[in-house]
């Protein structure tokens, strides 16, 4: 068993998330690479929730349809997922709550009285998950010591009770198969949101401002919890309008600042986005996509905000948009978003989604590219300060209040070099040209960045085109099919030349996107590029490896 999937399912409030993470952490200690997909409804208690933990000896970022081990904390968990069981799957279930019927004949069923154990120990509902962690470890011949160590690391309260319950689960079942350790270095587990947060901090973040909204709230929670450790300020204001305006105030006064939201919140931020461009106040926006229109499916995923991000805000202005595809990319692209925003004094958008943000990955710091820090152009203090000095690159030297004997005036109106309001036609054109020239300078700088990634068989006739969180599943499917994958990391400014080079010579270009209209393809069409086929999924759920592979086989040559 060196590539297997565990599904743990039950009622919201059963601690599905936590136990999924505990099991993944134990497997990660054994050298496995992990990916977790989390599926939960938009409610606090009740409802069906599940996590798929995939473990492999290879680095992965996708889930499979078939289940090798099912942990059924209630009847729904069995009923909803039994069709996906492998023919030799193992089902570990709470015999107090679950009735086993109609299972494939090869399945091995291991029942134990989890609910009774909880009752006997006088423990809370949520602790049943500890019981299941114990049971799955014993069934897979995982040494008790590994569980013990992991529990002592993860639990801050009730360690002894949780361990006792885990032990009872451990002792209630017998060994059934062997999960063998993999001989490789263990990697830390991290969510995409955590990777984004750490990338921002690495980029010098001083202030994070956000109004809670799935799927980026975990960034707010994570950074708020670590605010003292990182010496940052974390604020949750009255609305997303306030969020972005407050961020622009902090930016003006010299803080590197980021905000996080989803599509609905970003709607409220668009006036602030346009202001950021006009006043040349840098800001980073983490835009976590979830299905719309409107409130849509709050706790599910999609890639529907590419064109919204490209076009949001009145007026014509340059912006940076990056789209990371996994935890490592989320880390270094969030950092790059800060660097570029502050060097070019423009808004930067990091386009993520629920699958990336809340997915759990084995994080390999050693594969992060060493990015050259884009250093801001600062004022030399020799001539009187002009905030919007019209220089060749368009990038005026930046300075922050207070400056002795000089004032810094920023303005949402069209303004002259000193920041005074103007309606003069000559100045208006000059300043608009200056702002747009910054994009040209940025395009030039991006030449040295890896803006487009290519994976798989470079000679293949078939190219899979993808962006964002579909990267993991596309790369893995391409490996199986011996095809090539092209993934733009930067979507604005669009890396036309590199994209052209990457897709050159292909007989068939197949775009894989989690939206209904093929937004990356539409963007490429603007530059005379495109795709021959599209595979689109817009039910809020991610592509599974099996599903995508089958669809690719249908259209490929």
């Amino acid at each position: 068993m060196n590539d297997f999937s565990i599904l743990i399912g039950g009622k919201a409030g059963f601690g599905i998330d936590r136990s999924g993470l505990l099991i993944a952490s134990i497997l990660s200690r054994m050298g496995y690479r992990i990916y977790i997909y989390r599926d939960y409804p938009s409610l606090i208690r009740g409802g069906h929730t599940f996590s798929i933990i995939r473990a492999s000896d290879q680095k992965i970022a996708s889930h499979k349809d078939s289940i090798d081990i099912l942990l059924a904390l209630n009847q729904d968990a069995l009923n909803f997922h039994k069709d996906k069981l492998n023919k030799n799957a193992i089902v570990i279930y709470d015999s107090d709550l679950v009735k086993i019927e109609d299972l494939p004949s090869g399945c091995k069923c291991i029942g134990f009285a989890a609910s009774s154990i909880i009752k006997e120990e006088g423990a809370q509902e949520i602790m049943r998950n500890s019981c299941f962690v114990g049971a799955i470890c014993k069934a897979g011949k995982i040494p008790w010591e590994l569980l013990d160590e992991e529990f002592r690391l993860e639990f801050h309260n009730d360690i002894d009770l949780n361990l006792k319950i885990a032990r009872r689960g451990y002792d209630s079942v017998s060994e059934s198969h062997t999960i063998t350790p993999i001989e490789q270095k263990s990697l830390p587990l991290i969510t995409g949101n955590e990777a984004t947060s750490l990338g921002l901090v690495k980029g010098g973040l001083k202030t994070y401002i956000s109004y809670p909204m799935t799927p980026t709230s975990p960034i707010l929670h994570y950074l708020a919890g670590l605010a003292d450790k990182f010496s940052i300020k974390v604020v949750h204001p009255e609305s997303e309008i306030s969020v972005i305006l407050m961020a622009l105030g902090a930016s003006y006064a010299g803080d590197k600042v980021a905000v996080g939201t989803s599509g609905g919140g970003f709607c409220l931020m668009t006036e602030g986005l346009s202001f950021s461009a006009m006043a040349e106040l840098p800001v980073v926006i983490i835009l976590g996509q979830r299905p719309g229109p409107s409130t849509g499916l709050p706790t599910y995923s999609c890639q529907t905000e590419l064109h919204f991000a490209l076009n949001a805000g009145q007026g014509e202005f340059a912006r940076l948009i990056v789209a990371p595809g996994d935890a490592e990319e989320a880390h270094y692209l969030s950092r790059a978003a800060i660097d570029i925003a502050w060097k070019y004094q423009m808004p930067s958008i990091v386009l993520t989604d629920k699958n990336l943000g809340e997915g759990v990955y084995s994080f390999d710091e050693s594969i992060l590219p060493s990015i050259k820090l884009a250093e801001p152009v600062t004022w030399d203090g020799k001539t009187p300060y002009k905030r919007y000095l019209d220089v060749e690159s368009g990038v005026s030297p930046i300075a922050f209040v207070p400056l002795k004997n000089n004032t810094i005036k920023v303005n949402s109106y069209e303004h002259d070099e000193s920041g005074f309001t103007t309606e003069d036609p000559v100045v208006t054109k000059k300043m608009q040209d200056k702002r747009l020239r910054k994009e040209k300078a940025l395009i030039q700088e991006l030449e040295i960045y890896e803006t487009v990634k290519v994976y798989g068989n470079k000679e293949s006739d078939n190219i899979i085109l993808c962006w964002g969180s579909n990267k993991g599943v596309c790369v893995e499917a391409a490996e199986k099919l011996n095809w090539k994958v092209v993934q733009p990391l930067y979507l604005s400014p669009f890396p036309i030349r590199k994209m052209e080079a990457a897709i050159k010579g292909a007989k068939k270009i197949i775009a894989v996107e989690s939206n209904a209209t093929g937004q990356l393809v539409k963007l490429m069409n603007l530059y005379g590029l495109g795709a021959d086929e599209t595979i689109l999924k817009y039910d809020g759920r991610p592509f599974s490896l099996d599903e995508l592979e089958a669809k690719l086989r249908e259209v490929g040559i």
């Binding site: 001083k206 202030t207 401002i209 300020k233 604020v235 204001p237 009255e238 609305s239 309008i241 306030s242 969020v243 305006l245 407050m246 961020a247 622009l248 105030g249 902090a250 930016s251 003006y252 006064a253 010299g254 803080d255 600042v257 006036e271 602030g272 202001f275 006043a279 209040v401 207070p402 400056l403 002795k404 004997n405 000089n406 004032t407 810094i408 005036k409 920023v410 303005n411 949402s412 109106y413 303004h415 920041g419 005074f420 309001t421």
Partner: protein
């Protein structure tokens, strides 16, 4: 006296009440600078409207924001650099209409800043529509047969929201205005001055205010009940005498101190 003039050409109407606010603010800042306040630490933030042009007319750091969005950037500036002196200028449409939630939250948080509300009770720059403080029946270009809603009393709202300094001034009476501005700027916490500023073009109230305004005497701003009573004396609608001066003052921890 420090020179706070700028090269920008003033485009307010002759007789506009904003001149009094501009001159009182320049005088207050000049006087504070003489007393040792570093002028480079001052940032003025404005919304959009006639009032907002003030940032072009005073030679200090400025943040010319969006309509209704004076208080969020002002709060952000204080978060990043608490040592700065931040003064937000907002119109009544800005502060009491489009950006009301921001105003309430700035007061609730007790952000250490000053809010100067240019309350002319009419939209000037958009040529004469009613505002949240226009009296019932106000005939503006969007309400030709008169408004059907009562005005809010912004000071009463601010008192219940947690503002720790509340005052009212008028654009007639420069000396008093300068004195109130100075006191508001020196106050540690959220200070709001509602200035009955007159729009000569769309709502000329000079005569009306001159007849009714009186300066608070023997008033204890530390007494919340007394402050409330005085704030309620005129409700921005009915005909009543209009007290001006400092209504309320209280010491309380500020938002920025918490970080």
């Amino acid at each position: 006296m420090i020179n706070l003039n700028t090269p920008a050409i003033n485009t307010w109407c002759p007789g506009c009440g904003n001149f009094a606010i501009l001159n009182a603010m320049k005088a207050a800042l000049g006087s504070l600078a003489e007393e040792g306040m570093p002028i480079e630490n001052v940032v003025i933030v404005s919304g959009i409207g006639c009032h907002a042009k003030i940032v072009d007319y005073i030679n200090v750091n400025s943040f010319y924001s969006l309509h209704g969005r004076v208080f969020p950037p002002a709060t952000g500036i204080k978060l990043a650099k608490p040592e700065l002196t931040v003064i937000g200028h907002a119109g009544d449409g800005d502060a009491y209409g489009e950006g009301l939630e921001h105003l309430i939250f700035a007061a609730k948080r007790n952000v250490n800043m000053t809010a100067i509300i240019h309350n002319n009770r009419v939209y000037g720059l958009t040529t004469g529509q009613y505002t949240p403080t226009s009296p019932l029946g106000f005939k503006g270009r969007s309400t030709p047969s008169g408004t059907k809603e009562l005005p809010i009393n912004p000071l009463e709202l601010m008192l219940s929201s947690g503002a720790t300094f509340l005052a009212r001034g008028t654009s007639h009476g420069l000396e008093l205005l300068k004195k109130i501005f100075k006191e508001a700027i020196l106050h540690k916490g959220f200070a709001l001055v509602d200035v009955l500023q007159v729009c000569v073009t769309y709502y000329n109230m000079y005569e009306y205010y001159d007849k009714r305004v009186y300066e608070l005497k023997d008033h204890d701003p530390a007494d919340r009940d007394q402050a409330e009573k005085k704030i309620r004396e005129w409700d921005y609608n009915k005909d009543a005498s209009i007290p001006i001066g400092v209504f309320y003052k209280k010491d309380a921890p500020t938002f920025e101190e918490g970080f």
